[in-house]
């Protein structure tokens, strides 16, 4: 629906990693442009950026596999609260 230009995303992402920290470890976040996510190296968790908004709710985080494969998966759960079953599955 809403197309966000790559330029805007990049500008936002650079800005984001300046002041945002991992909500769990409070350590710095790294921008991963490939997967459009913020990565907390301290605890190897990736947080998605959706519609230009970083999602840093702890349970939005995905534990990184060695190849970063989780982080590069497309997100099907943009509407977090619409899919409660899905939500439950992820948090366990």
């Amino acid at each position: 629906m809403v197309k966000v230009s790559k330029e805007v995303m990049q500008k936002a992402a650079t800005l984001l990693s300046d002041f945002l920290v991992c909500p769990l470890s409070k350590q710095p976040l790294r921008v991963c442009e490939e997967s459009n996510s913020l990565i907390s190296d301290a605890i190897a968790v990736s947080f998605p950026i959706k519609n230009g908004i970083p999602c840093l709710v702890p349970r939005d985080g995905k534990i990184l596999e060695e190849e970063d494969e989780d982080a590069s998966k497309p997100d099907n759960d943009a509407n977090l609260y619409a899919g409660n079953e899905d939500d439950k599955g992820r948090s366990s």
Partner: protein, 290 residues
């Protein structure tokens, strides 16, 4: 404001210890309105409420408070005393209501004080972070910002996050506001301690929340309005009676003014004060990190 002060005084005089709200002891059980639910369930149920009402949230606030919520938020922002270049965090403010007011306020200050030459550089420094756990509320806010032309200079930053574990650095904010949000969290203490963590020394914590009315007669009317009228308005306007039933119940569950003030002090804040508006229908609590 005058009404608030007057009712508070009379209330105290007539019934000094009137507080009829049952409170839960802290345990792993938490409350969802009057229902007892476990903690994870509360987070999900509150999420459902706000997903359900996101689109009509501000309209409903207007209807339920007869437009008063605007004045309350104005009061909150004027107590914050925003300044150009400030770093501010507004929690649970997904629809942008408080953030836009802060920006308006800063722009007014700027027009008074500064020659045009400094405008650009200062604008780029002001940063209002809007943090909300609900993506639907954030999307509404982001869209409204675009429509109204707020944040074109990069002064607005939208972040989906949990007030209980914020993703902002220690000592990074000049101000912290939470309006009609803290009542809905699972652990109030965690929210307060996170607020304290992210504020700079000298930073101000301000919380606007629906609170407790103690003046007799007014209290009866308020209860009648809350339990009979509000769920019906919710049903008609937002098409969702349950969410507004939750709203009025959750207000009764929230700690009374004094108790909440002591929780703020326990989180490490100094100079903790509160002000009742409209006889305690809402209260603004404030604290300083020193």
């Amino acid at each position: 404001m005058a009404f608030g002060t007057v009712t508070k005084r009379f209330g105290n005089k007539l019934f000094p210890a009137l507080s009829s709200t049952p409170r839960l002891l802290h345990s792993h059980a938490t409350s969802f309105g009057f229902k007892h639910v476990n903690e994870e369930e509360k987070a999900r149920m509150v999420g459902d409420v706000f997903t359900s009402v996101a689109a009509s949230y501000d309209t409903m606030n207007d209807l339920m408070s007869a437009g008063l919520h605007r004045l309350w938020k104005e009061r909150l922002v004027s107590m914050l005393n925003p300044f150009p270049g400030m770093k501010h965090l507004d929690v649970a403010g997904g629809t942008g209501d408080v953030a836009f007011r802060i920006l308006d306020n800063i722009n007014r200050v700027k027009q008074r004080r500064l020659p045009n030459a400094f405008k650009v550089s200062l604008e780029s420094e002001t940063q209002i972070y809007v943090c909300d756990i609900n993506p639907n509320m954030l999307n509404v806010g982001k869209q409204r910002a675009t429509e109204k032309g707020y944040g074109e200079d990069g002064s607005l930053v939208w972040v989906e996050g949990n007030a209980e574990s914020l993703s902002f650095q220690n000592d990074s904010m000049d101000g912290y506001t939470i309006a009609f949000g803290i009542r809905n969290v699972t652990h109030i203490e965690k929210v307060l301690s996170e607020a304290h963590r992210v504020l700079k020394p000298g930073g101000r914590f301000l919380c606007l929340e629906l609170s407790h009315v103690s003046l007799p007669i007014f209290k009866e009317l308020y209860d009648l309005y809350s339990f009979s009228v509000i769920p019906r308005i919710g049903e008609m306007v937002a098409g969702d009676r349950e969410s507004y039933q939750y709203l009025v119940e959750s207000i009764r569950r929230f700690p009374p003014q004094e108790k909440f003030a002591s929780m703020i002090a326990d989180a490490g804040f100094q100079k903790v004060e509160y002000e009742n508006l409209v006889g305690g229908v809402v209260a603004i609590h404030s604290g300083l990190k020193i």
